[in-house]
């Protein structure tokens, strides 16, 4: 198992696509959490929402502002990451190469899960570091005090961001194992995250009660609720306090475990052709 993890690290670490995803996540987060709100802030002076807008950019709020993207666009990037980690083995037909060297599929799969989770941890830590730096810059520019969140808040935020992005990445892994490829899983994953989730919450849930109830069990709304509880600005895509943080954490963890077990089982059961 440790050597399988080493193998997986060799495969993933040199992959330009992963680093590109990380760069995109970084740029999008900084742009939408800091750059655009900041430009909007200096554009219109003393408007009604501007004090609240500035608060969200200051160090005290950086955790919530940074993880605010995980219910939708960071989630989408995490899905792509998961698909690339697992689905490429189908695309390149490398499963057969791997499984003739190491015939234990559960072991190989477990190594993949570990490395996927390490990748999303790296993502979340990088984003938090960048968010902290950006918020410090905003504070400096606005002569605001550098009030940092407590270590406990920081750790909770990091853990929540990690849980959410890993859950999405495992959705990507699951889709790629189920569909044995790369292109279709990415397409379907993105349609779910970027279109269906929106339609459900904006169009369907207000019309039908049972869909509104269903929302409480879906991964996206629970991710939105969890980051809302951590101070992500309501109004960011997908962020809204539909359920409590405890409920959201449980549901997200259940999806994470479910996707993982289901993918592992499918990979173990099926022929490698």
């Amino acid at each position: 198992m440790p050597t399988d993890i080493r193998a997986e690290i060799i495969k993933q670490i040199r992959r330009p696509a992963h680093w590109l995803l990380l760069a995109v996540a970084l740029v999008l987060t900084l742009t939408f959490a800091y750059l655009i709100p900041y430009l909007g802030l200096s554009g219109r002076t003393e408007g009604p929402g501007s004090a609240r807008g500035l608060d969200a950019m200051l160090p005290a709020e950086f955790v919530g502002s940074t993880v605010a993207g995980t219910p939708v666009f960071l989630g989408a990037l995490a899905v792509i990451f998961g698909v690339l980690v697992a689905g490429s083995e189908y695309g390149w037909q490398t499963w057969k190469t791997v499984f003739t060297q190491a015939p234990s599929r559960p072991r190989v799969f477990a190594a993949k899960v570990v490395v996927t989770a390490a990748g999303t941890l790296l993502l979340v830590v990088t984003l938090l570091a960048a968010g902290a730096a950006a918020s410090a810059a905003v504070a400096g520019l606005q002569d605001a005090p550098l009030d940092w969140p407590s270590p406990g808040e920081l750790l909770t935020g990091a853990a929540a961001g990690w849980l959410i992005t890993t859950m999405w990445a495992m959705l990507g892994v699951f889709l790629s194992v189920a569909l044995r490829g790369v292109a279709l899983p990415i397409g379907l994953g993105l349609v779910w995250l970027l279109a269906v989730q929106n339609l459900l919450s904006a169009v369907a849930a207000p019309l039908l009660d049972w869909i509104a109830d269903l929302q409480r069990a879906l991964p996206g709304p629970n991710a939105g609720s969890l980051v809302a509880a951590l101070g992500a600005p309501e109004g960011a895509p997908g962020v809204s306090a539909l359920t409590g943080a405890g409920h959201a954490t449980l549901v997200l963890a259940a999806y994470l475990v479910g996707f993982t077990l289901l993918s592992g089982w499918l990979l173990h059961r099926r022929d490698i052709t």
């Binding site: 037909q93 490398t94 490698i272």
Partner: protein
């Protein structure tokens, strides 16, 4: 108990895909130390059989023993394989590909260096896999198959797509590996290839093993001689090798004799004052045998 003497043993091995029986009640036995050629036309079931041996696909029924072990944990510890063309990580170098696979296989990094040398890839080991030529990819596949220093090598059409020099190169490598005492099970649809490097051949058609032959058995060569006058040449040769061993079709004489007898027979005919227009060693009739046994070779799918 074929156990250790039969590194590969299958009993009534069967794989069905819906209505199609890809492998049908196959009893295959490969003996220790031999190079066994698994010969059959496209779609005969070669790859399916080898994938089942390696645990990549599950048999519908039947049983498998590799190196005396039932499928399960550790049954591929001393088995190396190359299935249906090489497949590697395109963004990694040849060496990094092997390093990753060595980690999966649980073998030391020093082995990577060794197999690169055996495969003749050391010079290009640090180049990315997607810059490799087909021949280099194939050799990397062979290198990966050797990582575990296997007792048994399972190679699916290892020379597929290579030019003649590349083929000769890979065949020589395989032959060398076999001479080191490894057992090799190799699939091919090339008769000449199987004849060159195999000790025994199993012919598969429509998922069934239709014949098993030793290559030396098949390789008894004959001579085809055109000489005039033909009847006198016939008598002369009859006296020389025995009348039973000479046949005439009216144009040429066919002689059961080893190829290295050609010079002596030529001298004998010339000495008797006959004109020898043509004398040639006939290729062993593997092709004919193959086509007869497989009913023309192609299945209707």
């Amino acid at each position: 108990m074929g156990g250790m003497n039969s590194p590969v043993e299958t009993t009534a091995l069967t794989k069905r895909y819906g209505d199609l029986t890809a492998v049908d009640q196959l009893d295959l036995t490969v003996r220790a130390g031999e190079v066994y050629g698994f010969l059959g036309p496209n779609g005969a079931g070669k790859t399916t059989t080898l994938r089942m041996l390696l645990g990549l696909i599950r048999p519908t029924s039947g049983s498998i023993r590799l190196l005396g072990r039932d499928p399960g944990a550790g049954h591929l510890d001393r088995v190396g394989a190359l299935i249906e063309g090489p497949s590697f990580y395109p963004h990694l170098s040849g060496r990094d590909n092997l390093r990753a696979l060595a980690c999966h296989a649980g073998v030391g990094a020093s082995r990577v260096h060794t197999v690169l040398q055996i495969a003749g890839l050391t010079d290009r080991a640090k180049d990315r896999y997607n810059t490799y030529s087909l021949g280099m990819k194939q050799r990397l596949g062979l290198a990966a198959a050797l990582l575990k220093d296997p007792e048994l090598l399972i190679l699916d059409e290892p020379t597929n797509g290579l030019d003649p020099a590349g083929m000769a190169d890979i065949r020589a490598t395989i032959r060398r590996l076999a001479d080191d005492g490894r057992t090799v099970l190799l699939s091919s649809h090339l008769l000449g290839e199987v004849q060159q490097i195999c000790d025994r051949v199993g012919m598969i058609s429509d998922g069934r093993l239709v014949a098993e032959l030793s290559v030396s058995e098949l390789a008894s060569a004959g001579l085809r001689i055109v000489a005039s006058p033909l009847t006198e040449a016939h008598e002369c040769l009859g006296a020389l090798v025995g009348a039973d061993h000479v046949h005439s079709d009216g144009e040429a004489l066919y002689l059961d004799a080893p190829g290295d007898a050609a010079a002596r027979i030529n001298a004998e005919l010339v000495h008797s004052g006959l004109a020898v227009h043509e004398l040639r060693v006939r290729e062993p009739d593997l092709e004919q045998t193959f086509l007869e046994l497989t009913g023309g070779g192609r299945r209707a799918d």
